[in-house]
Symmetry: C2
Subunit: 157 residues, 2 copies
DNA sequence: TTGAGGTAGATGCAAACGCATGAACATCGG
DNA sequence: CCGATGTTCATGCGTTTGCATCTACCTCAA
Protein backbone atom coordinates (compact mmCIF):
# COMPACT_ATOMS: atom_id res chain seq x y z
CA UNK A 1 0.00 0.00 0.00
CA UNK A 2 1.18 3.43 -0.93
CA UNK A 3 0.91 5.82 2.00
CA UNK A 4 0.46 9.45 1.07
CA UNK A 5 3.01 11.86 2.40
CA UNK A 6 1.76 15.22 3.53
CA UNK A 7 3.16 18.38 2.05
CA UNK A 8 5.22 18.86 5.22
CA UNK A 9 6.65 15.38 4.97
CA UNK A 10 7.57 15.92 1.37
CA UNK A 11 9.29 19.18 2.20
CA UNK A 12 11.29 17.62 5.02
CA UNK A 13 12.18 14.49 3.09
CA UNK A 14 13.45 16.45 0.13
CA UNK A 15 15.45 18.76 2.37
CA UNK A 16 16.98 15.79 4.14
CA UNK A 17 17.92 14.23 0.83
CA UNK A 18 19.59 17.46 -0.20
CA UNK A 19 21.48 17.59 3.10
CA UNK A 20 22.65 14.02 2.65
CA UNK A 21 23.82 14.65 -0.90
CA UNK A 22 25.64 17.74 0.31
CA UNK A 23 27.38 15.91 3.14
CA UNK A 24 28.33 12.88 1.06
CA UNK A 25 29.78 14.86 -1.81
CA UNK A 26 31.49 17.39 0.44
CA UNK A 27 33.25 14.54 2.21
CA UNK A 28 34.47 13.16 -1.08
CA UNK A 29 35.62 16.54 -2.32
CA UNK A 30 37.36 17.23 0.97
CA UNK A 31 39.24 13.95 0.61
CA UNK A 32 40.73 15.06 -2.70
CA UNK A 33 44.42 16.01 -2.47
CA UNK A 34 43.90 19.53 -3.83
CA UNK A 35 43.51 21.58 -0.65
CA UNK A 36 47.16 21.93 0.19
CA UNK A 37 47.34 25.59 -0.81
CA UNK A 38 43.92 26.86 0.24
CA UNK A 39 41.33 25.14 2.41
CA UNK A 40 37.83 24.47 1.16
CA UNK A 41 36.44 27.38 3.11
CA UNK A 42 39.11 29.72 1.84
CA UNK A 43 38.39 28.54 -1.66
CA UNK A 44 34.72 29.22 -1.12
CA UNK A 45 35.59 32.84 -0.43
CA UNK A 46 38.00 33.13 -3.34
CA UNK A 47 35.45 31.59 -5.66
CA UNK A 48 32.68 33.90 -4.55
CA UNK A 49 34.93 36.90 -5.04
CA UNK A 50 35.94 35.62 -8.47
CA UNK A 51 32.32 35.55 -9.56
CA UNK A 52 31.94 39.27 -8.98
CA UNK A 53 33.37 41.92 -11.22
CA UNK A 54 34.25 44.67 -8.87
CA UNK A 55 34.85 44.62 -5.14
CA UNK A 56 32.08 43.48 -2.82
CA UNK A 57 31.30 44.18 0.80
CA UNK A 58 32.03 41.83 3.63
CA UNK A 59 28.38 41.63 4.53
CA UNK A 60 27.44 40.72 1.02
CA UNK A 61 30.10 38.04 0.94
CA UNK A 62 28.79 36.72 4.22
CA UNK A 63 25.41 36.00 2.69
CA UNK A 64 26.98 33.35 0.48
CA UNK A 65 29.46 31.94 2.96
CA UNK A 66 28.25 29.78 5.81
CA UNK A 67 30.27 31.45 8.53
CA UNK A 68 29.55 33.98 11.25
CA UNK A 69 30.43 37.55 10.43
CA UNK A 70 33.42 37.62 12.81
CA UNK A 71 34.75 34.34 11.48
CA UNK A 72 34.50 35.56 7.92
CA UNK A 73 36.11 38.86 8.88
CA UNK A 74 39.15 37.03 10.20
CA UNK A 75 39.25 34.54 7.35
CA UNK A 76 39.39 37.46 4.93
CA UNK A 77 42.05 39.06 7.10
CA UNK A 78 44.20 35.93 6.77
CA UNK A 79 43.68 35.83 3.01
CA UNK A 80 44.68 39.49 2.85
CA UNK A 81 47.82 38.76 4.87
CA UNK A 82 48.67 36.07 2.35
CA UNK A 83 48.23 38.51 -0.48
CA UNK A 84 45.24 36.76 -2.04
CA UNK A 85 42.60 39.34 -1.19
CA UNK A 86 42.67 43.12 -1.31
CA UNK A 87 40.88 45.01 1.44
CA UNK A 88 40.11 48.65 0.81
CA UNK A 89 37.89 51.12 2.66
CA UNK A 90 34.64 51.83 0.89
CA UNK A 91 34.66 55.48 -0.27
CA UNK A 92 30.87 55.50 -0.28
CA UNK A 93 30.51 54.14 3.25
CA UNK A 94 33.15 54.70 5.88
CA UNK A 95 32.11 51.62 7.83
CA UNK A 96 32.34 49.26 4.91
CA UNK A 97 35.19 47.32 3.39
CA UNK A 98 35.56 46.56 -0.28
CA UNK A 99 36.97 43.13 -1.01
CA UNK A 100 38.51 41.92 -4.22
CA UNK A 101 40.90 39.24 -5.38
CA UNK A 102 44.47 40.26 -6.01
CA UNK A 103 46.14 38.93 -9.13
CA UNK A 104 47.72 36.21 -7.00
CA UNK A 105 44.33 35.45 -5.53
CA UNK A 106 42.78 35.16 -8.94
CA UNK A 107 45.49 32.77 -10.07
CA UNK A 108 45.12 30.73 -6.93
CA UNK A 109 41.37 30.53 -7.44
CA UNK A 110 41.84 29.40 -11.03
CA UNK A 111 44.42 26.80 -10.13
CA UNK A 112 42.42 25.27 -7.30
CA UNK A 113 39.17 25.75 -9.18
CA UNK A 114 40.40 23.81 -12.17
CA UNK A 115 41.33 20.85 -10.03
CA UNK A 116 38.18 20.96 -7.96
CA UNK A 117 35.93 21.33 -10.99
CA UNK A 118 37.31 18.09 -12.33
CA UNK A 119 36.21 16.30 -9.18
CA UNK A 120 32.78 17.90 -9.34
CA UNK A 121 32.40 16.92 -12.95
CA UNK A 122 33.37 13.34 -12.19
CA UNK A 123 31.13 12.93 -9.15
CA UNK A 124 28.06 14.70 -10.43
CA UNK A 125 28.63 13.43 -13.93
CA UNK A 126 28.73 9.85 -12.72
CA UNK A 127 25.44 10.21 -10.90
CA UNK A 128 23.19 12.27 -13.14
CA UNK A 129 22.30 12.63 -16.77
CA UNK A 130 22.57 16.04 -18.36
CA UNK A 131 18.84 16.52 -18.15
CA UNK A 132 18.89 15.66 -14.49
CA UNK A 133 21.67 18.15 -13.91
CA UNK A 134 19.57 20.84 -15.52
CA UNK A 135 16.59 19.85 -13.40
CA UNK A 136 18.66 19.86 -10.23
CA UNK A 137 20.02 23.28 -11.05
CA UNK A 138 16.55 24.63 -11.73
CA UNK A 139 15.10 23.20 -8.53
CA UNK A 140 17.90 24.30 -6.22
CA UNK A 141 17.97 27.75 -7.79
CA UNK A 142 14.29 28.08 -7.17
CA UNK A 143 14.76 26.86 -3.64
CA UNK A 144 17.45 29.41 -2.89
CA UNK A 145 15.67 32.21 -4.63
CA UNK A 146 12.35 32.07 -2.90
CA UNK A 147 11.77 34.53 -0.11
CA UNK A 148 9.52 33.81 2.82
CA UNK A 149 11.96 35.96 4.63
CA UNK A 150 9.74 38.86 5.46
CA UNK A 151 7.36 36.62 7.35
CA UNK A 152 10.09 35.18 9.50
CA UNK A 153 11.36 38.56 10.53
CA UNK A 154 7.91 39.82 11.32
CA UNK A 155 7.08 36.73 13.33
CA UNK A 156 10.20 37.27 15.42
CA UNK A 157 9.11 40.78 16.39
CA UNK B 1 21.84 33.01 -28.98
CA UNK B 2 21.79 29.95 -26.83
CA UNK B 3 25.31 28.79 -25.98
CA UNK B 4 25.66 25.12 -25.26
CA UNK B 5 27.09 24.15 -21.92
CA UNK B 6 29.37 21.18 -21.82
CA UNK B 7 28.65 18.25 -19.58
CA UNK B 8 31.31 19.51 -17.19
CA UNK B 9 29.78 22.93 -17.05
CA UNK B 10 26.38 21.49 -16.37
CA UNK B 11 27.75 19.37 -13.56
CA UNK B 12 29.52 22.30 -11.94
CA UNK B 13 26.63 24.70 -12.37
CA UNK B 14 24.17 22.31 -10.80
CA UNK B 15 26.52 21.60 -7.92
CA UNK B 16 27.00 25.29 -7.35
CA UNK B 17 23.26 25.83 -7.33
CA UNK B 18 22.90 23.08 -4.77
CA UNK B 19 25.62 24.64 -2.62
CA UNK B 20 23.92 28.01 -2.80
CA UNK B 21 20.56 26.58 -1.84
CA UNK B 22 22.21 24.76 1.03
CA UNK B 23 23.95 27.88 2.30
CA UNK B 24 20.94 30.14 1.95
CA UNK B 25 18.53 27.81 3.71
CA UNK B 26 21.02 26.82 6.39
CA UNK B 27 21.47 30.50 7.23
CA UNK B 28 17.75 30.94 7.57
CA UNK B 29 17.34 27.84 9.69
CA UNK B 30 20.27 28.86 11.87
CA UNK B 31 18.59 32.19 12.48
CA UNK B 32 15.51 30.51 13.92
CA UNK B 33 15.23 30.78 17.71
CA UNK B 34 15.10 27.05 18.31
CA UNK B 35 18.74 26.19 18.95
CA UNK B 36 18.87 27.24 22.58
CA UNK B 37 19.00 23.68 23.88
CA UNK B 38 21.04 21.92 21.23
CA UNK B 39 23.10 23.46 18.45
CA UNK B 40 22.46 22.60 14.82
CA UNK B 41 25.45 20.29 14.72
CA UNK B 42 24.39 18.55 17.89
CA UNK B 43 20.92 18.17 16.46
CA UNK B 44 22.41 16.67 13.34
CA UNK B 45 23.95 13.94 15.45
CA UNK B 46 20.81 13.39 17.52
CA UNK B 47 18.73 13.20 14.36
CA UNK B 48 21.03 10.73 12.69
CA UNK B 49 20.97 8.54 15.76
CA UNK B 50 17.19 8.78 15.91
CA UNK B 51 16.92 7.40 12.39
CA UNK B 52 18.63 4.18 13.38
CA UNK B 53 17.03 1.45 15.40
CA UNK B 54 19.86 0.08 17.40
CA UNK B 55 23.19 1.59 18.32
CA UNK B 56 25.59 2.59 15.58
CA UNK B 57 29.33 3.01 15.46
CA UNK B 58 31.13 6.32 15.63
CA UNK B 59 32.67 5.77 12.22
CA UNK B 60 29.32 5.05 10.69
CA UNK B 61 27.88 8.19 12.26
CA UNK B 62 30.83 10.13 10.90
CA UNK B 63 29.90 9.25 7.35
CA UNK B 64 26.72 11.28 7.68
CA UNK B 65 28.09 14.13 9.77
CA UNK B 66 30.36 16.69 8.18
CA UNK B 67 32.98 16.73 10.92
CA UNK B 68 36.42 15.22 11.38
CA UNK B 69 36.57 12.01 13.37
CA UNK B 70 38.16 13.66 16.41
CA UNK B 71 35.67 16.52 16.37
CA UNK B 72 32.77 14.10 16.21
CA UNK B 73 34.30 11.97 18.93
CA UNK B 74 34.34 14.93 21.27
CA UNK B 75 30.93 16.20 20.23
CA UNK B 76 29.52 12.80 21.12
CA UNK B 77 31.45 12.90 24.37
CA UNK B 78 29.77 16.20 25.28
CA UNK B 79 26.35 14.84 24.38
CA UNK B 80 27.07 11.80 26.54
CA UNK B 81 28.08 14.06 29.42
CA UNK B 82 24.78 15.86 29.05
CA UNK B 83 22.94 12.55 29.20
CA UNK B 84 21.59 12.69 25.65
CA UNK B 85 23.70 9.93 24.14
CA UNK B 86 24.69 6.55 25.49
CA UNK B 87 28.18 5.27 24.74
CA UNK B 88 28.83 1.58 25.21
CA UNK B 89 31.75 -0.60 24.18
CA UNK B 90 31.00 -2.82 21.22
CA UNK B 91 30.98 -6.44 22.39
CA UNK B 92 31.82 -7.61 18.89
CA UNK B 93 34.78 -5.27 18.43
CA UNK B 94 36.80 -4.05 21.37
CA UNK B 95 37.94 -0.94 19.53
CA UNK B 96 34.48 0.22 18.61
CA UNK B 97 31.87 2.23 20.44
CA UNK B 98 28.15 1.75 20.14
CA UNK B 99 26.16 4.96 20.21
CA UNK B 100 22.49 5.39 20.90
CA UNK B 101 20.11 8.05 22.11
CA UNK B 102 19.07 7.97 25.72
CA UNK B 103 15.43 8.56 26.53
CA UNK B 104 16.28 12.18 27.27
CA UNK B 105 18.14 12.38 23.99
CA UNK B 106 15.20 11.02 22.09
CA UNK B 107 12.87 13.52 23.70
CA UNK B 108 15.26 16.33 22.97
CA UNK B 109 15.51 15.25 19.35
CA UNK B 110 11.74 15.14 19.02
CA UNK B 111 11.27 18.52 20.65
CA UNK B 112 13.87 20.30 18.53
CA UNK B 113 12.93 18.27 15.47
CA UNK B 114 9.31 19.32 15.67
CA UNK B 115 10.24 22.97 15.74
CA UNK B 116 12.85 22.67 13.04
CA UNK B 117 10.59 20.66 10.77
CA UNK B 118 8.10 23.50 10.82
CA UNK B 119 10.75 25.86 9.49
CA UNK B 120 11.77 23.39 6.82
CA UNK B 121 8.19 22.91 5.76
CA UNK B 122 7.65 26.64 5.52
CA UNK B 123 10.84 27.42 3.60
CA UNK B 124 10.78 24.50 1.19
CA UNK B 125 7.03 24.61 0.95
CA UNK B 126 7.11 28.26 -0.06
CA UNK B 127 9.60 27.60 -2.83
CA UNK B 128 8.56 24.34 -4.45
CA UNK B 129 5.45 22.53 -5.54
CA UNK B 130 4.90 19.00 -4.27
CA UNK B 131 5.99 17.58 -7.58
CA UNK B 132 9.15 19.60 -7.44
CA UNK B 133 9.86 18.37 -3.93
CA UNK B 134 9.56 14.82 -5.15
CA UNK B 135 11.87 15.57 -8.05
CA UNK B 136 14.40 17.24 -5.79
CA UNK B 137 14.35 14.30 -3.43
CA UNK B 138 14.82 11.85 -6.29
CA UNK B 139 17.70 13.80 -7.82
CA UNK B 140 19.60 14.42 -4.61
CA UNK B 141 19.13 10.82 -3.51
CA UNK B 142 20.56 9.66 -6.78
CA UNK B 143 23.40 12.11 -6.40
CA UNK B 144 24.30 10.87 -2.94
CA UNK B 145 23.87 7.24 -3.81
CA UNK B 146 26.16 7.01 -6.79
CA UNK B 147 29.61 5.63 -6.20
CA UNK B 148 32.60 6.65 -8.26
CA UNK B 149 34.44 6.10 -5.03
CA UNK B 150 36.60 3.23 -6.04
CA UNK B 151 38.18 5.21 -8.83
CA UNK B 152 39.14 8.04 -6.53
CA UNK B 153 40.87 5.77 -4.10
CA UNK B 154 42.72 3.95 -6.83
CA UNK B 155 43.82 7.20 -8.42
CA UNK B 156 45.29 8.30 -5.08
CA UNK B 157 47.52 5.24 -4.87
C1' DT C 1 51.03 -18.66 18.37
C1' DT C 2 53.07 -14.72 17.22
C1' DG C 3 54.23 -10.58 15.16
C1' DA C 4 53.37 -7.30 11.21
C1' DG C 5 50.04 -4.41 9.39
C1' DG C 6 45.53 -2.39 9.52
C1' DT C 7 41.47 -0.14 11.77
C1' DA C 8 38.51 2.44 15.53
C1' DG C 9 38.36 5.81 18.47
C1' DA C 10 40.75 9.08 21.96
C1' DT C 11 43.99 12.86 23.04
C1' DG C 12 47.58 16.96 22.77
C1' DC C 13 47.84 21.19 20.76
C1' DA C 14 47.54 25.06 17.66
C1' DA C 15 44.23 27.16 14.66
C1' DA C 16 39.64 28.64 13.78
C1' DC C 17 34.96 29.47 15.27
C1' DG C 18 30.70 31.73 17.53
C1' DC C 19 28.88 34.93 20.84
C1' DA C 20 28.93 39.17 22.93
C1' DT C 21 30.53 43.51 22.52
C1' DG C 22 33.10 47.63 20.90
C1' DA C 23 34.40 51.37 17.70
C1' DA C 24 33.39 53.98 13.74
C1' DC C 25 30.38 55.67 10.66
C1' DA C 26 25.56 56.41 8.50
C1' DT C 27 20.85 57.93 8.82
C1' DC C 28 17.11 60.39 10.23
C1' DG C 29 13.78 63.02 13.19
C1' DG C 30 13.54 67.25 15.71
C1' DC D 1 22.92 70.99 13.34
C1' DC D 2 22.55 67.49 16.76
C1' DG D 3 21.61 63.54 19.36
C1' DA D 4 19.31 58.89 19.07
C1' DT D 5 19.19 54.75 16.67
C1' DG D 6 20.86 51.51 13.25
C1' DT D 7 24.49 49.43 10.57
C1' DT D 8 29.11 47.62 9.38
C1' DC D 9 33.06 45.51 10.54
C1' DA D 10 36.66 44.45 14.21
C1' DT D 11 38.11 42.48 18.71
C1' DG D 12 38.14 39.84 23.37
C1' DC D 13 37.35 35.45 25.02
C1' DG D 14 35.79 30.88 25.90
C1' DT D 15 34.60 26.82 23.02
C1' DT D 16 35.12 23.82 19.18
C1' DT D 17 37.61 22.12 15.26
C1' DG D 18 41.29 19.80 12.52
C1' DC D 19 45.81 17.64 12.19
C1' DA D 20 48.97 14.62 13.91
C1' DT D 21 49.59 11.09 16.82
C1' DC D 22 48.65 7.59 20.31
C1' DT D 23 46.54 3.51 22.28
C1' DA D 24 43.94 -0.48 22.00
C1' DC D 25 42.25 -3.92 19.39
C1' DC D 26 41.49 -6.79 15.19
C1' DT D 27 43.20 -9.62 11.21
C1' DC D 28 45.96 -12.66 9.01
C1' DA D 29 49.97 -14.93 7.29
C1' DA D 30 54.01 -17.55 8.60
Amino acid sequence: MMTARTRGHLANDSWEALLTAHAVLMKRFAAAPIWDEVSMREYDVLYTLSKHEGPIRLGELNRSVLLSQPALSRLVERLADRGLVERAPDPADGRGVRLALTEAGREQQRRTGRRHAADVTREVGAALTEDEMRQLEALTSKLAGSTVHREIEEAAT
